[in-house]
Every structure is written in structure tokens, then in C-alpha cells.
Symmetry: C2
Subunit: 193 residues, 2 copies
DNA sequence: CGAGGCCTTGACCGCGGTCAATGCCCGTGG
DNA sequence: CCACGGGCATTGACCGCGGTCAAGGCCTCG
């Protein structure tokens, strides 16, 4: 085999916290590999979030549709994890969907089984919460930027801190990710001679 | 005794996850009670966050000062916890301070000792991560609002979802909390006949 | 070769930012 | 007890950015 998605997922966990052998194999047995094609809806809006996804190849975005406008809330490139945090822990329903941006493959981890595995494998639980921590900090920084910076400055920051996104994501999604319209983003780009 | 701040803090933990007797007493021994007066700086900017605060009475805000402008990032009323999440886990320095908004009393929990107690008291660790979870979800929702709503709509939401803030926090801080200037907030308020 | 999606450009408008002045309430000190 | 001062909220005038609506060009895919 050339590339094992599940193994990559286990490695990603181990990169967060040293997971022991038993925890790793438990995790490995949970993972379900699943292919995705561009435009496909991985998880539709209106359902509780019962699955944590590891993006082995390709990319996805999480988005909502308040009053008919498509707003992308976050973008996950290969190597990252995707889930709708508001719903992850309490299984509340959430009006957000997960959509595939580029063909690729996912590893799906059912949260019920994952959380159950925490009882027997504390390092696994620790790794998971490291993931939440990391994401929590990212949310704080993103909020800080959107709260204090102008649209033009936010775009400049994006170029500076996550330029890879430009290679993978159409501008209209980056626009709503920045909290502005596609037209504004276009003008901002034109303005920076 | 009429009111024990440390005990209130322990109860707050137990409200998040059932902490056993041993964990509760361990927590109780960590807490340091400390009074605060309005305007006082609890934690100055530029330091790593080594303390988790429980606000027993009064209220505080977390704020930063990018290019000289005071931006309040979050407001914690009595019964809540306050810490600068970006720095909590990795002890990185952070340009944010904690300031007292109303006279009151805090319970200070040194993070090093708290994290150390997790090794022996798993329920305590669980309760703490429930706290992080809850806060994580709040960040997501706040980001969502600021990303998709206009300033006027954000103020309407604030009135709707956390009207208590108006009783405790001066408008200039609410303005920066909403990501707008005090003048704009004033006009928005005037506009809603 | 045609159709549709995406990015761009244009014109117009209104909201919110900025700077400045006024009024109000409070605590402080004479 | 009153006078003063400072911080906070408000109001006004002005301007520019970003939102909205509409049209045009380009690429990709069927």
C-alpha cells in the first residue's frame, strides 16, 4: 500500500499527545475511510454532529446558510480535522453543513465510539482535548482579527498567515470567510496594486 | 460564614462534571481568595497566563490594546471563569490584560497546580475540559455573529441574549466588544426609537 | 459549441469611522 | 455644601469603504 489514511489519522493524534499502542489500535479500529468528490455534501445541515472527520487528502469547508447566503465558517486542508464544534459535545442540531472543496479522502470517526474509547484510553482522551485546545485558541485569534481589523487588513493577514488557502479555495468562499462580499474582496485585491 | 468564595468555585466545577470528594478537596486547597476594586488590573498584558480565575462577586473583562485602542474581548460576570485562553495551555505571552469592572472577589487557581491535580483526579480534569468545551462553543457562536451580522444586528442580539451586560458594563466597552466605535453604538441606540 | 459558474468592474447609496464639541453625572477637594 | 474636573455618552458634520444591484468577460465542463 502506498498511503494509509487511517494510519495518517493515528499519526495526527500522536502528534498532539503521545498515544500508547493500545489507544492507537483502538483508534485505528474506529476509523472508516471514505472518498469524496468536489461539491459533495459530506454532512448536511440540520443534524447533530456525530462524526469527527480527519481530512487525509483534499479539503473541505464548514458553512451555514443564514437567510439564503452561503457563509463559510472554516476551511480544513489535508491533515486537519473537521467537525461542527457547537454540536460535537451535546449532540444538538446545527444548521451547518460540511462540503467537499477538492476531491480527496476522509477518515470518519463516530463520536459515540470515540468518546467511549476514552474511558479505557486516557491518552486518547488527552490527544482529543489537545485538538480542542488548539482549535479553541484558533477561534480566539480569528475572532480577535475579525473584531479589530478592517476587511482589507483581514485579507492582508490571510495572505500572510494562511496563503495556502488561495491555492485551494475559490475567492467567493474566502470572501464570506473574511466576513465580506465577493465584490468587496475583488476590489480589495484590485486596490493592492 | 455567610458566603465562601472557594466553595462557590467548587460548586461551579461540580456543575460542569460530577467531581468526587477527593477532587473537590484538592481543588479547594488550590483556591486563593482575593478582593478586587473597580478599575484595578488583575493581570497585566505581556505575561503568560498562569492563573485561572473564578469570579465569585463583581465582574471583569479581558481586553487588549492594539495600536492604542482598548478592545474588550470578553466580559465575565459573577459565577463565571476568566482566563486568557491563548496562553492558558502553552504559557505563551499574550498582550491582553484582565481588568476589574465592579468591586468583588476572585478565586485564583494557579494553573500549574491545577494541571498537576489532574493526574490524580480525573473527574477534575473532565470538569475543566467541560469548561473549555463550553467556552469553545461560545467562541464559535460569537464569531458566527460577528462574521455575518451588521453592527446594528449585533447590538440587537446582545440585548436579546445577554441583556445583563448592560447593567454591569459601560457602553464604551460594549461597543468594542461588538467590534464598533462608541459613537456608532450611540447612534444605533438612538435609531431604535 | 453552448451554458453556467466565477471573478471582475461599474454606479449608487447608506452605514459606520473619524474628529470635534457639548452635556451630563460623578467623585473630589476647597 | 458648592465648585471644579474628568470620564462617559451623545450629537453633529464629513468622508470613504463596503454593500447592493447589474452587467460584462472568461474559463470549464457538458
Amino acid at each position: 500500500m502506498t498511503f494509509d489514511p487511517v494510519h495518517a489519522c493515528v499519526l495526527a493524534f500522536q502528534g498532539l499527545y503521545p498515544v500508547d499502542q493500545a489507544g492507537s489500535t483502538a483508534l485505528e479500529q474506529l476509523g472508516r475511510v471514505q472518498a469524496m468528490v468536489r461539491g459533495e455534501t459530506i454532512q448536511p445541515a440540520g443534524q447533530p454532529c456525530r462524526t469527527l472527520y480527519f481530512v487525509a487528502e483534499g479539503s473541505v469547508r464548514i458553512h451555514s446558510m443564514p437567510d439564503g447566503h452561503d457563509v463559510t465558517e472554516r476551511i480544513v486542508l489535508a491533515g486537519g480535522f473537521a467537525a461542527r464544534g457547537e454540536s460535537l459535545f451535546d449532540q444538538s442540531t446545527v444548521d451547518k453543513g460540511i462540503e467537499c472543496l477538492e476531491d480527496g479522502v476522509l477518515v470518519a470517526l463516530p463520536t459515540s465510539a470515540l468518546f467511549a474509547a476514552f474511558e479505557a484510553h486516557r491518552p486518547l482522551e488527552r490527544a482529543f482535548y489537545k485538538m480542542v485546545e488548539r482549535d479553541y485558541v484558533r477561534q480566539i485569534k480569528r475572532l480577535e482579527r475579525i473584531q479589530t481589523l478592517s476587511p482589507a487588513e483581514r485579507y492582508a493577514r490571510l495572505l500572510d498567515e494562511e496563503p495556502e488557502l488561495l491555492q485551494h479555495v475559490p475567492l467567493k468562499h474566502l470572501a464570506s470567510y473574511l466576513g465580506i462580499t465577493p465584490e468587496s474582496l475583488s476590489r480589495i485585491r484590485a486596490r493592492r496594486t
